[in-house]
Amino acid sequence: MSNSQADHIRRAVAERAGRTFPAKVADWIRDRPEGGIAVMFCIAQILCIAGALMFPGEFRYLLPANIAVTLKSIAPLGIMALGVGILMIAGEYDLSVGAQYSFLAIVCATVSNQLLGDISEEHASAAAPFIAMALVLTIGALIGVFHALITLRFNIPSFITTLGGMLLWKGATLLYHGASALRFKPTEPFRTIFGGEIGVIHASIIWFSLFAIAFYFLLHHHRLGNHFYAVGGNRNAAVAIGIDPARTKIIAFAIAGFMAAFSGVVAATRVGSIQPGGGLGMELQAIAACVIGGLALNGGRGSILGIVLGTALVFTIQDVLLLLRAPAFYFEMFVGSLIVIAVVLNTAIRRSKA
């Protein structure tokens, strides 16, 4: 009796599928939160490349050395932001990822060095840094689970739990190691796998890309990703339909902790030493990158592409300011403005659609 109704939907769907490619892109930009940021990113790149072509002497944006440095510096924050972003989509925060980043890198270096994983040891162990890394990745995930259990068991905002966690792991870093820098020069093949370079491509950016692709499939194409969106978008609806929000959120917290640990180890491998305070403020930068990339602060909305573009845009700005020899505080001023502009744009787009 109502098959005609389904037919008219089918026709409409077919019509939309038959749009020209530019029309699809235009709709994507208008409909998706990451569409706006993609446009901003492209404009920024075009301006930078044009500037570099016009003033090759002054503005060395296209110099391989500059590209290499920018790509390298994107990776640690990007890896962290992927975890933070997935957790945000599931409706929770992790403010402790910056502290975990330092703490777990130091644990990794200490354990690795004790197992003779330093490159200058006489009988250096090739396995030691891998063992140490596996250990801290596990600890990172467990810290996430720990935060999740407290948040869910006592039904308190994760903002509070992980604010406490941030101070706790910061203190734990000083307790465990002290305030001095720690050497981390791991043996091969660890060093190449996590710190090697092919041309301008650093290993860390490859890891970032691999994680971005893996999480793209998890978030957008796997059942679990669907549950992250459901739980973050409307917890009660998710419960009513039979999704276990506790289980879903515990997994998201574990991912955030795991990624913080991974990011810390990769950054430490690249630099060769760890400053105990190195991760301070990174949690806010990661959240900023996510918000710029179109993730909603109250959960349920966002995409992996948005997180990647948000991170990339932040570092493009940083790079440009460095090339222009602008004082460091300009960076924070720019990122600060960008956060507000991005959210204003997203809200305006949503409002015009509703």
Binding site: N236, A237, A238, I241
Partner: protein, 272 residues
């Protein structure tokens, strides 16, 4: 309770059962599909369900009526497992069953249209319909094409939903009635033995309401029993075989359609 006003409305018809006093109600004759006995549900010190007996028979539509705050939605959520009772027993097909999560009620073939809709605004229609029950291939990856195909069928057939032509549309951009229609379509698609409808027509147009009520009546023949929660007694009389009136968390009146009149049921709903 004001006697003169009632006297004015129904001068010749005194109530059979004293008002505001819980009643035993009707005992099921054959083993019901679902039976809850002596259900108590407390929220802290507040008693939302007080020694409530409730059953759903085979090929039956039960009308669950009562004033605002009577406990109808609490009972519906209890049956669907998301609000487990403080005490009491539940029998499915005569077998004692513990239903304390949505997963357990789903296993018993219970599907619910919740009063608060239970959709995620930031997700597409397709994703909302298959939320928690995604069609997946190997390793849990979703089969988007199949889900969309089924969604189009559902949107076209179960309930006629006006103005929806894009299964990828975000639910947050739908109208109130369209949202309700999506929630109905979802429940109708997954229904098996029992369909619970908690004020399903509150946002629907006249045409859609007629369609849904007709559908609920037809479901009986296919072997799916329903519980219809509504404030509209005419709708209830159109489709229900039995009426249960609740007040303050307890059953105050119960009668089969053939043993009562719309006036009598109305009387019990407004008196309590």
């Amino acid at each position: 309770m004001s006697e003169p006003r009632h006297a004015l409305r129904h001068p010749q018809k005194p109530a059979h059962i004293p008002v505001d006093r819980p009643t035993e109600g009707i005992r099921p004759e054959e083993t019901p599909l679902y039976e809850a006995r002596k259900i108590v549900k407390r929220y802290g010190s507040f008693v939302a369900l007080n020694n409530m007996d409730f059953h759903i028979g085979r090929n039956e539509v039960v009308g669950l009526l009562g004033d605002n705050g009577a406990g109808k939605s609490t009972l519906v959520r209890m049956i669907s497992g998301i609000n487990p009772p403080t005490s009491g027993e539940v029998f499915i097909n005569g077998k004692k069953t513990d239903i304390r999560t949505r997963a357990e009620s789903e296993a018993s073939g219970i599907e619910t249209i919740y009063q608060d809709i239970a959709l995620v605004d930031s997700m597409s229609i397709t994703r909302n319909i298959f939320m928690g029950r995604e069609i997946t291939g190997r390793f849990g990856f979703m089969d988007h094409r199949k889900m969309e195909e089924v969604t189009i069928d559902i949107l076209g057939s179960a309930v006629q939903i006006s103005g929806i032509d894009d299964p990828r549309k975000e639910v947050g951009f739908l109208s109130g009635g369209q949202k309700q229609a999506v929630a109905i379509a979802r429940a109708v698609h997954f229904k098996r033995n029992i369909l619970l409808l908690d004020e399903p027509t509150s946002a629907l147009s006249v045409r859609e309401t007629e369609h849904l009520l007709g559908y609920v009546r037809d479901l009986k023949k296919e072997g799916t029993s329903s519980v219809l929660v509504t404030h509209n007694l005419y709708h209830a009389f159109m489709v229900c075989d039995r009426f249960v009136v609740m007040s303050h968390g307890a059953k105050v009146f119960e009668a089969r359609k053939e043993d009562t009149t719309i006036e009598e049921v109305t009387d019990h709903v407004i008196r309590t």
